[in-house]
């Protein structure tokens, strides 16, 4: 009683201290650490562990039972009907004076395999001599004194192969009658009965052996120590012949994987849902404003949410960890390996959590807010589900060409599991993530995933800090966008590596193009100021105090409130030129002719043009009188969706045209014509839209009196 009271007092004291440091965390903890949710979390966690352990326990083979046994011989022999019969005339092989015994020694069934599966019932000593004597390739001559050989007519017939196979089956039937039948008491009587076999060895000549009938196990389980048996692989029986020999490391390894999935899916899916839902609730209720106005940093408030909102989930998952670690140790993994998995899991989860908070802070439409938790959770779960198959396929660990899609493995904890999965008592040493020109072992992978996670956290934290303190601020400082683009370009080229064959370069460029498109759209969102901010910039840019005012070019490139078109164009230029220079430098021969080089640069221009066009469309929509973000997003989305596949198609046509120089269209080489038309159309449209947007901005910047004068 005294102990409980002391514990409660101490816990309250520590909670109080914690609340002083992070009131948001205390609020979330107090709201959630109530009896019902806590007990539910504990019960669910324990229940999941119990069910999983029961499930895996049930998958283990039980004691050796009669039902799992079959009648066999010791040793068990496999036959095939290979004879010396080929194109040579039969009479040359089988002289007329040869006795039937000799004919059998040259044309009978052949011992193809000898299985020494230890019998569960029966005395293997009875067959010890046979096991020593019989060799692969020996031919069976007699069973219990009766000759075993194909008849002459059978050998002369056309379907002799089938006939000899039938003969092999007959031999099997004679040795072990109806071996698939259950081991009934009548059949058990056959155990230890012996069969006399006469065989022929080309070197040793004829010999006789005694083979006993025995009962062997025919159980199969991936958790057994497997041995080759008559029907394939089957479980090895232990010394006492009461149970099977188990492959425990494999069993623990599978439980570890199962528990990992049990941790990853709820932690990522449910955690993202809880955070998004909580933020949406705060936004709908309007209480988030008070938090934003309080003298607490975004870090304090959001870390409070991050640690507090899913606290019951953390509790449930935390209870899984002791078992997870114990199982990991039993599977043969070291502390370093287990810690590596947990650290990458934490880092990768944090990326998704921070991204959820940022998306939650950036969305204000009630309908989207309502859908947001479901969409985000489904997205994260879907991504991880795909990653199970991607990682499971071993694609990223093959010694083939690397590509940018490999980036995705740094976001999913299932990637680190690939180093563990199906391991035999240790982390696989032969699994190496092919990352550009590097092959990463487990430790290197963990280090890279952590650095990658830290980079993302810094970037997302920057956005959160800005968006939390002022909802009108852009997510990213414009001056940070340029180094970010540099990092992105290096990552894209680095992931692709230098081992790509010239013929595959266009495919990799298309992949990079797709990622770049996604990056540019993200940049558009991150650098676009709020509509009102942009309007205020056009109207009052000159009215700012001299010390705060920037020159127009500086403002467009580095300012926070100006139109982002120039900044996006610069980023695009930087990204494209870096990728192109790198590719041309690394693969100087992938464009062998001038025409192909021309086409390639045409495609690049097309790509740059289409993204600029999308940017201009987005900004033009943004300046429309009524604020409709969905319109802006759909415009950018649809244009991107339309332009990208067409550019990719053109690129593939251009680079892979069988003889581009010799096909003609409209009097021009066909690829030039194919590219020139959309390029000229796109550049014209981009220019028109650029003028429209500039006029729009100028109109927006007019004072009331200027507007009245222009109307007059």
């Amino acid at each position: 009683m005294l102990g409980t009271n002391l514990f409660t007092t101490l816990a309250a004291h520590h909670l109080d201290r914690l609340g002083d440091r992070n009131p948001q965390l205390l609020r979330e903890l107090k709201g959630r650490l109530k009896r019902f949710p806590v007990v539910t979390a504990i019960v669910l966690s324990l229940l999941c562990q119990i069910v999983m352990m029961i499930g895996f326990w049930a998958a283990l083979p039980g004691p050796v039972r009669l039902d799992d046994m079959e009648l066999s011989t010791y040793p068990r022999l496999e036959w095939h009907g290979k004879t010396y019969l080929n194109s040579e005339p039969l009479q040359d092989l089988l002289p007329q004076d040869m006795v039937n015994r000799d004919r059998a020694a040259t044309s009978g069934v052949v011992v193809s395999r000898i299985h020494d599966t230890i019998p569960v019932m029966g005395d293997e000593r009875l067959g010890a001599n046979a096991l020593k004597a019989i060799q692969q390739g020996d031919r069976l001559v007699k069973i219990d004194g009766q000759l075993i050989m194909p008849s002459e007519s059978e050998l002369n017939g056309t379907g002799w192969k089938q006939k000899v196979e039938d003969l092999a089956r007959t031999v099997d039937g004679r040795l072990v009658p109806n071996y698939y039948d259950p081991l009934t008491p009548e059949r058990q009587k056959l155990i230890n009965t012996t069969i006399e076999l006469e065989l022929h060895n080309p070197e040793r000549g004829y010999y006789s052996v005694t083979v006993p009938r025995v009962a062997v196990a025919r159980q199969y389980s991936s958790y057994c120590v497997l041995v080759n048996s008559f029907h394939g692989e089957s479980c090895a029986v232990s010394q006492d012949k009461q149970s099977y020999q188990l492959n425990w490391s494999r069993w623990y390894s599978d439980i570890y994987t199962g528990l990992s999935a049990l941790i990853i899916f709820p932690l990522m899916g449910l955690g993202v849902f809880m955070l998004a839902n909580n933020l949406a609730q705060e936004k709908r209720r309007g209480t988030l404003n008070f938090l934003q106005l309080s003298p607490r940093s975004a870090f304090t408030i959001l870390s409070g949410k991050l640690l507090g909102v899913p606290v019951c989930l953390y509790l449930a998952i935390g209870l899984l960890f002791p078992l997870h670690w114990m199982i990991g140790f039993n599977a043969g993994y070291t502390v370093g390996h287990l810690l590596g998995f947990d650290l990458t899991l934490m880092g990768q989860t944090l990326i998704f959590y921070l991204a959820t908070l940022l998306i939650g802070l950036s969305i204000s439409q009630p309908m989207v807010l309502g859908l947001m938790p479901w969409l985000l959770a489904a997205g994260v779960m879907g991504f991880n589900w795909i990653m199970i198959f991607y990682v499971g396929s071993g694609e990223f660990a093959r010694n083939t060409e690397a590509h940018v899609l490999l980036w995705s493995v740094l976001f999913s904890p299932f990637s680190s599991l690939a180093y563990f999965n199906f391991a035999q008592a240790a982390v696989k040493s032969n699994v190496n993530l092919v990352f550009g020109d590097f092959r990463l072992n487990f430790v290197e992978y963990v280090a890279l995933a952590l650095v990658h996670g830290m980079g993302w956290c810094a970037l997302l934290g920057h956005g959160l800090e800005r968006r939390f303190s002022n909802a009108d601020m852009t997510l990213l400082k414009r001056r940070f966008s340029y180094p970010l683009t540099l990092v992105f370009a290096v990552l894209m080229v680095g992931l692709t590596g230098t081992r790509v064959s010239n013929a595959d370069v266009p495919f990799h460029l298309v992949l990079i193009g797709f990622f770049s498109l996604v990056y540019c759209i993200a940049l558009m969102v991150a650098l676009s100021p709020a509509r009102q901010t942009l309007k205020d910039w056009t109207r009052f840019r000159h009215a700012k105090p001299a010390h705060e005012r920037l020159s127009l070019p500086t403002d467009l490139v580095l300012g926070e409130t100006s139109s982002p078109v120039v900044a996006i164009a610069l980023n695009l230029l930087l990204l494209t030129s870096l990728v192109v220079i790198a590719f041309v430098g690394i693969y100087p021969h992938f464009l062998p002719t001038t025409l192909e080089a021309l086409m390639f640069f045409g495609c690049i221009l097309m790509f740059v043009g289409s993204i600029l066009f999308s940017t201009l469309v987005s900004q033009t929509f943004l300046m429309f009188p009524r604020k409709k973000n969905w319109m802006w997003l759909s415009a950018v989305g649809s244009i991107s969706c339309l332009t990208f596949p067409s550019i990719s198609m053109i690129m593939v046509i251009v680079v892979h045209a069988p003889s581009p120089a010799h096909t003609h269209l409209l009097g021009l080489p066909a690829p030039v014509a194919i590219l020139a038309l959309p390029l000229s159309l796109l550049s014209t449209l981009t220019m028109i839209l650029g003028v429209v947007h500039t006029r729009q901005l100028m109109r927006s910047g007019r004072s009331e009196s200027q507007q009245l004068l222009s109307q007059a």
């Binding site: 303190s469 009102q532 009052f540």
Partner: protein
């Protein structure tokens, strides 16, 4: 035990709030235009104006809930920077918006405790502050009640308690008495008076002008986003409020009117009611001159039965100089 809220630290004489060319645009609509506002430290400043005049926008800008299109804001001489969080300045502000949401699942004490922690109050100071504000808003008996069970008036007072839990030097109240019954309004006024007594600078916007007239030491009138008036209440009355005197006689009304002509320079007859013998005049003299007028009438043996002065109310002033918008 009744405890008294302590005076905020850092209050000083001089200007508590100063804005310079404060402008806020929403799309093409300019909600605030070049507002130059000055509020003395310790003042209760009433902000009045019709709907859409920009009162809420001005308060939100001062509370840092929005950033201005143009212009600057100073609290006790320190400039607000909307591009970076200024926690020290935020600690000086208490803000109660017109539609303030509450965490309905919490009880009163936990709600205040949460905000006290957010504002950095620790241990005993926090506990003392919560007790003090609960006493201040008369909710001490409800400290264990869940917020959802409180009446609207109580919630309003709880909101006020939340906004003063950290004893801010500047309190911004946006329509705090809207929707309250007369009793709750009276209680609320008393709380504001107490806060004023502590030296907190209060900016309060309201449509209930009688409340403001009773509470405020200075008034600002917003029209179309322009601050058309910004003055201490006394000055405003002196400058814009006129005095009416109602005089009643049991004798002949014409004798009274004849006698009043001697004061033509200060008197303008507005209304005469022969059936009751009453005259309503606009009197532009000071109180001594009003006394002279009364003495003169008595000496003239006018049988007076009524002589009382009426000052034009804040509402009259507002209608006189403001309320230009069609709505």
């Amino acid at each position: 035990m009744t405890q008294t809220l302590t005076s905020p630290a850092g209050t000083s004489t001089g200007l508590a709030i100063r804005t310079q060319h404060l402008t806020k645009r929403f799309d093409r609509h300019t909600a605030l235009r070049e507002v130059d506002l000055e509020i003395q430290s310790g003042a209760v400043f009433g902000l009045i104006g019709p709907n859409g005049a920009g009162k809420t926008t001005l308060i939100r800008l001062l509370a840092m809930a929005e950033s201005p299109t143009l212009g600057e804001v100073f609290f006790h001489g320190e400039k607000l920077d909307y591009t970076r969080p200024q926690f020290d300045l935020k600690r000086q502000i208490g803000y109660l918006p017109d539609d303030f949401p509450l965490y309905e699942d919490l009880n009163v004490w936990d709600y205040l405790d949460y905000f006290a922690r957010l504002y950095g109050l620790q241990d005993k100071q926090r506990s003392r502050s919560i007790h003090q504000v609960l006493d201040l808003v008369n909710l001490g008996h409800k400290r264990k009640s869940v917020i959802t069970s409180l009446s609207r008036g109580m919630k309003q007072r709880l909101g006020l308690a939340r906004s003063v839990i950290h004893t801010p030097s500047i309190l911004l109240l946006d329509e705090p008495v809207s929707g309250l019954d007369p009793v709750a309004r009276q209680e609320f006024r008393q709380v504001i008076r107490n806060l004023h007594g502590l030296g907190i600078t209060v900016l309060i916007s309201s449509h209930v002008l009688s409340d403001l007239a009773e509470l405020c030491t200075a008034i600002g009138i917003l029209e179309f986003g322009y601050l058309v008036e910004n003055a201490p209440l006394e000055t405003l009355y002196q400058r814009l409020s006129q005095q009416h005197i109602v005089i009643g006689t049991r004798g002949d009304l014409k004798d009274l009117q004849t006698e009043l002509r001697q004061f033509d320079a200060a008197v303008l007859v507005l209304e005469a009611k022969p059936q009751t013998g009453q005259v309503k005049i606009r009197f532009s003299g000071d109180p001594d001159e009003a006394a002279d007028l009364l003495r003169s009438l008595v000496e003239a043996k006018i049988p007076l039965y009524e002589f009382h002065c009426e000052q034009e109310s804040l509402e009259d002033i507002f209608f006189k100089i403001g309320h230009l918008q069609p709505t």
